[in-house]
């Protein structure tokens, strides 16, 4: 599903965030990327999502050379292939929960059946009663569920989660953890960036530790 080969990412004047890193993720796998702050976890996630480009090396996802994509192609790649979950949810406060979930489908120009799919997702995730509410009125756990629903809206083959429980209390974190376990059980390929060893242990089929931009031995 994912092939990262000899990838480096350097920023101007800084040490390499990633340093000749190679990684393979199989379809249906749930990989947890662990490591301290600054180890390159989020940078790797950004490269896989097509949000950033490597300084060298190749990133291939579902047969697509992501490192070669321009901005417009990368956007289309994300619509079709990637679902993103962020630590701080990144929901749009002026849109209702349902409209937030619908957004990826609408941006992709899909209309038929989108609302039905959004409401089904909200129901599946247990937050359908909040469909017409605005994100600001929800708890942290509920907001992250909305974010997960939004990430799944376009049925992406790959779900990327960047510290999905990092901004949540223990109870909410447990809810999201269970959600990810369930998704993986249904066959969803997941790459998870986290500091949370418990989360990694509960969800991931494999863990990779990064240190200074390289896979730790």
């Amino acid at each position: 599903m994912i092939d990262v080969v000899n990838v480096s990412r350097r920023y101007e004047g800084d040490q390499a965030a990633l340093d000749h890193l190679s990684l393979h993720v199989a379809e249906g796998e749930c990989l947890a990327l662990l490591g301290p702050s600054g180890s390159g976890k989020s940078t790797l996630l950004n490269l896989i999502a097509g949000l950033d480009r490597p300084t060298e090396g190749t990133v291939t996802v579902a047969g697509i050379r992501v490192d070669r994509l321009g901005e417009a192609s990368a956007a289309r790649y994300r619509r079709a292939t990637i679902g993103l979950i962020f630590q701080f949810f990144n929901l749009l406060d002026d849109l209702t929960v349902a409209d937030n979930v619908l957004l990826p489908a609408q941006i992709a120009g899909k209309s038929a059946g989108s609302r039905k799919r959004a409401l089904e997702l909200l129901e599946t995730l247990g937050i359908d009663r909040h469909a017409d509410a605005y994100p600001g009125r929800l708890s942290g756990g509920e907001r992250q569920r909305v974010a997960v629903a939004r990430a799944l809206m376009n049925r992406p083959p790959l779900l990327l989660a960047d510290e999905p429980t990092g901004a949540l209390d223990t109870a909410s974190g447990a809810e999201v953890r269970k959600l990810l376990v369930d998704l993986h059980a249904e066959g969803q390929t997941i790459v998870l960036v986290t500091h949370d060893e418990v989360l990694a242990a509960a969800v991931a089929t494999r863990t990779v530790r990064l240190v200074d931009g390289q896979v730790a031995p």
Binding site: L51, E71, R78, L103, Y134
Partner: protein, 749 residues
């Protein structure tokens, strides 16, 4: 580094935003300077120019054949102040070369003056070139007769004069100036003495002073010059004042919007600094500094640009008013910079006070995002609009910041108002000119009066010419009218002039001798109405059967030549319309073979005043639209900066750069459309008020066709100018948003 400096430093890091703030303020202050100058120049232009030149209350021309120079000089004792006598001569010349060769130029009254501003009265302003230094050099008074420096005039005796410059006397003391020796060489025909009096404010006083000079002297009172100038001035004051006021309003709006936006975008940073210990008083000072520093840099740049642009602008205005160009006026600059500072402070102070009072935690939480709850209805409606999502997201966006939306609406509205007004004005002026020229352009051939026609009975000759269709003759005549001081300026016609293209304001064209049509000025001066009868010496009663439009005459009467006996036909110009299928050049050649001077009729082209008005209108419109565009640009830049994180989110969900750009551009769609739709009627109403007011000021009533210039299609196009202006202004930030790297945008807080 102090905490305040740290906050202010933030502005330096946001380069694009800061540049826009500086540019928008600069442009707004430029508009303020120019608007201020316009208002100053439009306020008593004659009085100001007369004071600046220390104009002559009375200009006297003594006949050299009857009065010696010493006798003329002795009259100085009758006035409070006098200069002269200056030798005067009449220059009769033709252009030595160029397209005007042959027909000649009107005789010029030329005065010998050794320098333009050296005398105590009538300090003539040199507009271009240099003052005559040799006896064969001449400076021409700038009037409708534009003779540029370098032109050579050929005198009747074969000698030549070289035009070396243009000058203007507000007292209109001469049509040209040469050195005293130059006039002496040509042979002086008179002596000019200029007077100023302690009591010169009334006609009675001026009549007394004129009478005291004796009978053998031609005089010109400053009151008559002032009245002539007033007619010209009143025509344009409402126009320039309207532009000036729009400019001031737009400038204040843009500066206020820029300032408020600057502080709003700094709130989060201020929250951080408060968390680190910044006191509310320090917050206020920081906010004011952050707004004032770039604002005042922009203001200074605006002053410089305004002063530079003022040179052509004031020259145009001076030409329009027949006055002298205003020099850069420090008080306008000072007022503009103080006004800019006041607007910035007045807008910044409440925003700074709000920021200071905001709880630190709130500043950190909501500093960069709009108040929760605002714009949700708009977002909900837009989401269900069926439009592509990038567009519907953009359309709903401005409703999250109502104050910024309102400012943008006003900015676009005023910009559209200015554009609508300017286009309507230009159309009206063209139609007025077309209506004024129609009697000349509706014919094919103009048969000229003059020596070349050498006694030929022109009417008979034209009638006998093959190809002649309809024709009529017309010529000038002074027609005494009871109740009018002096005779009315008249035009008499021979033949059927009803189809000559005179634009009727009321009634009809005359059909027989004993009927007449008159201008609005005539009706005003005599208190008569259409249908009344006028009498006077040398003609029978004339029934006024119509009111005719005349763009140049204030007091004019048209009647059949048979109504006014004893007018020689040789003074007539004959306007001939050819039968269909006849070649005009061949017809002209045939006339020439009969020793009859004739020429093809043609529109005179835009006259000088129209060209000046066009250039003024274009300059001011461009400036106002630019200010409006910069105001919108600034608002969109601030909005895009504030929303950069949201843009990152959209991109992470698959929004392409094109969709992102479309979203940003769509965000100005609603204010653009509403501003445009509101600005068009505002401009329409302003035009429909200002144009008739301009005409009324000059004693002219305009045909309704010259006022109803807005076709429905044009209004629709103008209404679209609002969204076009908004979209054009949003292109730059839209491009920036489209190019922003998603990962960077997502990291931006």
């Amino acid at each position: 580094m102090s905490a305040i400096r740290t906050v202010v430093k933030g502005a330096q890091r946001r380069r694009v935003s800061t540049i826009v703030i500086v540019a928008a303020t600069a442009m707004a202050v430029t508009a303020t300077v120019l608007a201020g100058l316009l208002l100053a120049a439009s306020s008593k232009p004659f009085a100001n120019a007369f004071a600046a030149q220390h104009g002559a209350h009375l200009t006297a021309l003594f006949d050299a054949a009857k009065t010696t120079k010493e006798q003329a000089a002795a009259t100085a004792s009758q006035a409070q102040q006098a200069v002269g006598p200056f030798a005067v001569t009449t220059v009769k010349a033709k252009l030595d070369d160029g397209p005007m060769q042959g027909p000649g130029i009107p005789p010029l009254k030329v005065v010998g003056r050794s320098n333009p501003g050296g005398d105590a009265i009538d300090k003539v302003t040199l507009l271009s070139g240099h003052w005559p230094a040799a006896t064969d050099e001449i400076v021409i008074a700038r009037t409708n007769l534009r003779l540029s420096a370098g032109t050579t005039l050929k005198l009747e005796n074969g000698n030549t004069l070289k035009v070396v410059g243009e000058a203007r006397s507000i007292s209109q003391t001469a049509q040209g100036w040469m050195t005293p020796d130059g006039v002496a060489a040509l042979g002086p025909t008179g002596w000019q003495v200029l007077y100023r009096y302690a009591d010169a404010g009334t006609e009675a006083a001026m009549t007394t002073h004129t009478t005291a000079l004796g009978g053998d002297v031609q005089t010109q009172s400053w009151l008559s010059v002032r009245n002539d100038a007033a007619h010209r001035t009143q025509l344009f004051v409402p126009l320039l004042s309207a532009f000036g006021l729009i400019g001031l309003a737009l400038a204040a709006l843009v500066i206020g919007n820029v300032t408020a936006g600057t502080i709003a975008s700094a709130t989060r940073r201020i929250g951080m600094m408060k968390a680190l210990g910044l006191t509310p008083a320090q917050v206020v000072r920081a906010c004011l500094s952050q707004a004032l520093i770039p604002g005042m840099i922009g203001a200074v740049l605006g002053i410089v640009a305004g002063d530079l642009l003022a040179v052509p602008l004031t020259a145009d205005v001076a030409d329009l008013f027949g006055t002298v160009p205003m020099s850069v006026t420090p008080w306008v600059d000072a007022a503009a910079i103080v006004a800019a500072a006041l607007v910035i402070a007045a807008t910044a102070a409440p925003a700074a006070w709000r920021a200071a009072r905001l709880r630190t935690v709130d500043a950190l939480a909501v500093g960069r995002t709009p108040h929760r709850g605002r714009g949700q209805l708009a977002a909900r409606l837009a989401a269900r609009s069926g439009l592509p999502r990038s567009l519907s997201l953009g359309l709903a966006q401005p409703f999250t910041r109502p104050a910024r939306l309102l400012a943008m609406l006003l900015t676009i509205g005023l910009g559209t108002t200015a554009a609508t007004f300017a286009i309507g004005l230009a159309s009206s002026l063209r139609l007025v000119q077309a209506a004024d020229q129609k009697p000349e352009t509706s014919a094919d051939v103009l048969v000229l009066p003059g020596m070349d026609n050498r006694g030929t009975n022109t009417r008979t000759a034209i009638a006998a010419m093959p190809g002649t269709g309809s024709f009529y003759g017309r010529g000038p005549a002074d027609i005494p009218v009871d109740g009018l001081r002096g005779a009315a300026q008249g035009t008499v016609t021979s033949g059927d002039a009803s189809a000559a293209g005179f634009e009727m304001l009321a009634g009809r064209w005359y059909a027989e001798p004993g009927e007449a049509v008159v201008t609005t000025g005539f009706l005003t001066a005599t208190g008569k109405h259409v249908g009344d009868t006028v009498t006077g010496a040398g003609h029978g009663p004339l029934t006024l059967v119509g009111e005719v439009f005349d763009g140049s005459a204030n007091n004019h009467l048209y009647t059949d030549a048979a109504s006014v006996p004893d007018l020689a036909e040789r003074d007539f110009e004959w306007y001939v319309k050819l039968k269909p299928g006849n070649d005009r050049d061949a017809y002209l050649a045939a006339l020439k073979s009969k020793h009859i001077s004739a020429e093809a009729t043609q529109a005179e082209g835009a006259d000088g005043t129209l060209i000046i008005l066009d250039s003024l209108t274009a300059l001011l419109t461009a400036l106002l639209v630019s200010v409006a565009a910069l105001g919108v640009l600034n608002a969109v830049v601030l909005d895009s900066r504030d929303r950069v994180h949201d843009i990152g989110v959209h991109k992470s969900l698959g929004m392409t750069p094109k969709q992102t750009a479309a979203m940003v551009i769509a965000s100005v769609g609603v204010p653009g459309l509403i501003g445009g739709v509101a600005g068009v009627p505002a401009g329409y109403l302003l035009h429909h008020w200002a144009v008739p007011a301009m005409a009324r000021g000059a004693g002219i009533r305009l045909p309704q066709s010259t006022i109803d210039v807005y076709a429905l299609g044009l209004l629709a196009v103008l209404a679209l100018a609002g969204p076009a202006l908004a979209a054009g202004s949003a292109l730059l930030p839209a491009g920036w948003a489209a190019r922003t790297r998603t990962a960077v945008a997502l990291r931006t807080e």
